[in-house]
Symmetry: C2
C-alpha cells in the first residue's frame, strides 16, 4: 500500500499576490472553495505524495497575523512526525483522523478542535477509509518544522 | 419581534488564565465544545441580548497571534453595523446567514469562508428560521469596533 505523507507545513504559495479585499470563498461539495486553487506539494527533501492543500487565507494579499489552510490526508496517509515553535489549531471538517501529540493520541471527528502547543512533537494520521480533511490555523510568521525520529 | 443583536467583537474573557498546553475540545451536537464555556455578553453601551459566544482559542493561555471564536446568532438577530482596522475571517458551520460588507450583501452557507478587509463596514444578520453559527478568526491584538450609522 502506498503511504501518503505530508508535512503539516509547506512553503506557502508566496508571490501569488492579490489584493487585500473582501471576498467570499464559497464551499463546494468536493471540499474545495471558489477562487482557491488546490495545491499538490513536493517540498525539497520531503517524501509525501498526493496531498491536497488549499490556502484559504494568507496568500491572496491578506494582512492577517494568521493563515488558514485546509488539508486533506487520503486514507492510509499521514504527516511527518515533527515539531516547531509555533502553535497549531486543527479543526476537522471531513471524515476523521488521529493526531499523535507527544505521548498522547487523539481521535478527531467533525468540528473537534485541537490545540497543539509550541514545540510539541506531533503527527496527523488517517487510518480510516475516507478522506481526513481539516482546517489548520497558524501564525503568519512561523518557524519551519523540524522532523522527529520516532523511538 | 425581539431583535437579537450582537457586536462582532466583545471584551474577551481575560483573566480566565489557563495553561498553554495541548488540548482537544470535542464538538457536541448542540454546537458547543468540551471545556469551552458559552458566554452571554452584555458589554457597556451595547444593546444586544441572547447572543452566544464560545471562545475556542485565545483565552486559555494560548500564545497564538490569533483568536478563534464561535458565534451563534438566533433567528431575526443581527450584529452591530460597524467597522475596525482588523480583518475578519468568517466560516459558517451552522445554518446560513447574511453579511453586509460595504455595499455588498453575501449569503453565507455551510463552510463558506468570508474574508472581510480592514475598515470595511459590516454587519452579520440572520433572517432565517434556524440558528446562524460561524467561526470568526481575528488577530489577537486588535482595535475595538466602531459603530456605523446606516444611511
Amino acid at each position: 500500500m502506498t503511504q501518503k505523507t505530508c508535512s503539516c507545513d509547506f512553503t506557502s504559495a508566496k508571490g501569488r499576490g492579490g489584493k487585500n479585499i473582501t471576498r467570499l470563498s464559497r464551499f463546494k461539495p468536493n471540499f474545495s472553495w471558489t477562487g482557491i486553487k488546490s495545491e499538490e506539494y513536493k517540498a525539497e527533501g520531503e517524501d509525501w505524495v498526493d496531498i491536497v492543500r488549499h490556502g484559504l487565507i494568507g496568500n491572496q494579499g491578506e494582512t492577517t497575523k494568521f493563515h488558514l489552510r485546509y488539508f486533506e490526508i487520503a486514507p492510509d496517509g499521514h504527516s511527518s512526525f515533527e515539531w516547531h515553535n509555533h502553535e497549531h489549531v486543527v479543526i476537522c471538517i471531513r471524515g476523521r483522523g488521529i493526531c499523535l501529540a507527544g505521548k498522547k493520541k487523539y481521535q478527531i471527528g467533525f468540528l473537534d478542535t485541537l490545540y497543539i502547543e509550541p514545540k510539541m512533537p506531533h503527527q496527523l494520521r488517517n487510518p480510516f477509509d475516507e478522506p481526513f480533511g481539516f482546517f489548520c490555523i497558524v501564525n503568519a510568521k512561523r518557524d519551519k518544522p523540524k522532523k522527529v525520529l520516532k523511538a
